[in-house]
Symmetry: D2
Subunit: 307 residues, 4 copies
């Protein structure tokens, strides 16, 4: 296992000086991130941790939260209902596209893009908004091994600059896809995007998926095994938005990225990987994150179809 | 291994009476296929064969040829050139879509849809059309373990009813994607679609991919190992057209279907699977083929992300 | 002029028994309209009125308000500003399309479709919402020759079922097209859609445009002459949504329809025409209204390019 | 009438030094046009001619031929048939768009864009290709008052660089819109685009439309009066491609442009106008041509809705 530590050290230093891209600007709070921050963390299914760089710097989950909320709602409401509302197809369109909703069934193509994730948020169960938020936090906390918190500055910043997401939510409502109050669905969506954690946390969440749903540290089941396959399959085909095909082709690891600069990947039965570096490219992926995963995939022979 | 034979027998009989769908009609010759034909064949990487049904009935490859031609051109011209001409992204659009060519780079989204496959055909090397056709046949023959033939009735029928494919080819030419004569590119495309084989052959081709490119029967390398990963990755994310995401989610096997009613799947390191049954659904997939793969995936635990 | 009365009488009776289409249902209040209601009113630039049928039945203006608000904002803010925000091109898309906003400049294609009209509403001047509403009412009242009122039931009904329009408004905000509060822009839009009048009123409004902006009854200028041409041009190319081309071709009169079942047309220098009949077709036009205009155009030789 | 001569003289000199844009390059022969060429010709319905500049320089008609072929086919086959094949709606898309064919009815939106014009060409009657070409030439010659010729260099150049138009033709065939051989339809289309004439000729053709179909010089009826309205209506709403709305708004004259740098306009009952200047803008319109029409419309008060 020293090999893992050595490998991430080398890859870390290889990309340390890379200054391409810049932090996301469309949410003002995200623009405050420091581009020099950079970390790589691996957590194995046995709970071993390998880490390099700023692994204790906190950031917001953004879209990396989507696979988990999707799993939660799948577990609560079942595949038949969820599939009737949100598809599982890649789109070839950008993460924030609204165009595909006008096609055919008016279902979002998949839960990894904003439209699908907002729909999924509207299905979170609970008696009240607070109750639903608590249920979502509790679910995420199982993966984290501790209570997850919301970065309220990020939340407010998201909420105030979300015209495109609001547009999507109203169109989803128009087509009868989302349930309940639009504001509540959006706020639950913004809350999960604002969940705050560090790379150590994120690699543990990834490792929990790698470990068939059992948290390697707490040994507590976080999600039923049968839904882990759903999540990983979706991450593989749709997790990297309109570069998902290229990612599957060149990296070959189920993964999810967020515009805060985080990417996590899952090697089933082996380990979870988290990379954080806030400068992103035009597709919304961490520039250094993409490079780290390409190198890791090659060095550790992780690509699913290249063994 | 008796387990495999028993499993395919059971699944075969479970779906034998299914009469949903009908043979493809848009190519007149395909409409002549007999809907009662049905076969399942498994070939392991050790060369063992398990078979049930009409495994010696011949059919045309249609789109199941696409992954092989893609591999051939990749091996001949390299990833950099091929990627500059044809992408690796799923589209969310139907197999014969022309719309996505008007977007962005004007590259076909991927080589598994018609536009991408026609472009790939235009890159087949050779001094003359005959030379290029021979090269392509030789490449396919390595996977087949014997010389492959063209069903000339199918070829003529394809050629005469291909207005949409011709439209695509001219637009590709307009955008500078395809090279050489349009007619030659189309004829090479129609020829590969008209390659004639049976389910035993097809499962051996699949098994060759499962065996990292070495034909399990002839022990001859058919393609360099490094390109097998490219092919399987593309099959997984794009092989089933606009149901690729659902297939990855519910079946989880890299696969490719053709409108003649064939589907083949690859279990890396284990085996190749071929199913033939000519009645197809609205997405162009064999109705019984889809059901067989869903059952096989479950019974033999083949889904990549559900182990 | 007896000829006009006789002509509208004949056309009225010809279509009286037509029961095709049905009142708009997507706004619950509109669904309450009585399909048997039917009127045709002509007001000349000299103020003569020819009328048949239920010409005193009140209905809401809906989209027939759009040309007037457009004219008001043009007059207040000038062509350069308005053109920078909302185009003057027909779209070939339905009246409530959102797709075209994702193209190119993100400007609405024209002010006669919902996206353009919502944008235009956001530009109405005033210190407060009430002030802006008063300004808009005052402007419309000039055309009406009396104070215009809002049907508050319609307004509430519009407001509560407007998910698609809200979606459009948020996307317009996202692209920086609309100004100020989204809610205010939408409410001003819903208010103008809910302006309540009868066919006599509407034909007078049309006649005011026919009379270069001077109300034939009050003799008061309602809008500067130079903007009347802008309005009529837009009505001619875009007034009938995605059937504007067919309307120009077969009727040849600048016109505007609303889903309440009203259509008005303008014969420059001659007269204004209003038809009301609440049963609409799949494009949102009054079924009897379309037929009346086709017949009127032919009988009175009104088509601009067929003289 | 001296006023007309004086006006076109002034406008000619105002724009003489304008060097914006450049001749079309996608057809090599068109790129040879000389940018300094510039002419304005007006022919009245009485046959008076007012001319300034290079009015005897020959150029190819390109898309300015479309309204005439449309009229010919309308007259031969009737509105019902033609409308079933080609619509009359503006598109909001560029002149060479293929995307709209994938929508709804698969009819071209209108006969003024390439897809519609190619379809129209496929309907030209005759026993053979030569016969059909002769019929078309004869029809155009009536408007010209002399036999029209084809610039064979342009024709060959069009034919050899027409991948996009071929793509469109094959898709039209796929959808069952066009009849007969694709090559013949395309060649008839390229032939009409290659009809060679000068600005004097073109203004006479326009004047024939202005004169309800009777050639002001020969006094011979070139087309039945009832179809002149169809043509002018289509020119007004669709003649300037995706700037048709803006043209209707700012110029207000039924007109048609071609990428050779010609634009002609029709003032019904008054006159025809032709402008030639080969440097075109990004929409494919003559740069000086657009400016001349804007000025002429203003100076001579020609805009239909601004009188």
């Amino acid at each position: 296992m020293d090999h893992i530590q050595q490998t991430i050290n080398e890859i870390f230093h290889k990309h340390l000086s890379n200054r391409e891209g810049s932090p996301a600007t469309y949410i003002p709070e995200l623009a405050k991130a420091r581009p020099e921050h950079f970390s790589i963390v691996v957590t194995t299914v046995n709970g071993e941790v390998f880490s390099v760089g700023d692994s204790e710097i906190y950031f917001s989950m953004q879209s990396t939260s989507k696979p988990f909320t999707y799993g939660m709602v799948l577990q609560d409401l079942g595949r038949v209902f969820v599939m009737s509302k949100v598809g599982v197809e890649p789109t070839g369109e950008a993460f924030n596209s609204i165009v595909e909703l006008e096609k055919n069934t008016h279902r979002p193509y998949n839960p990894m893009i904003n439209s699908g994730a907002i729909a999924i948020s509207s299905f979170i169960r609970g008696q009240s908004f607070e109750d639903r938020l608590t249920n979502m936090k509790d679910f995420f906390s199982l993966f984290l091994g501790r209570s997850i918190g919301v970065d309220e500055n990020i939340f407010e910043s998201e909420k105030n600059t979300a015209h495109r997401n609001r547009s999507i939510a109203h169109l989803l409502k128009h087509f009868g896809i989302i349930e309940g109050k639009i504001e509540d669905a959006l706020d639950l969506y913004f809350k999960q995007c604002s969940f705050s954690l560090n790379s150590l946390d994120m690699s543990l969440m990834a490792a929990t998926l790698a470990n068939s749903g059992i948290n390697p540290k707490t040994k507590i089941r976080s999600i039923n095994k049968e839904y882990v396959g759903d999540i990983l399959s979706l991450m593989f085909t749709c997790g990297m938005y309109d570069t998902s095909g290229k990612w599957a082709y060149s990296v070959g690891i189920p993964a999810k990225s967020g515009v805060s600069g985080a990417i996590f990947g899952v090697i089933p039965g082996v380990m979870g990987i988290a990379v954080y570096s806030p400068s992103i490219n035009e597709h919304g992926h961490s520039v250094r994150g993409v490079k780290v995963f390409q190198d890791l995939s090659k060095e550790l022979n992780l690509s699913i179809f290249r063994k």
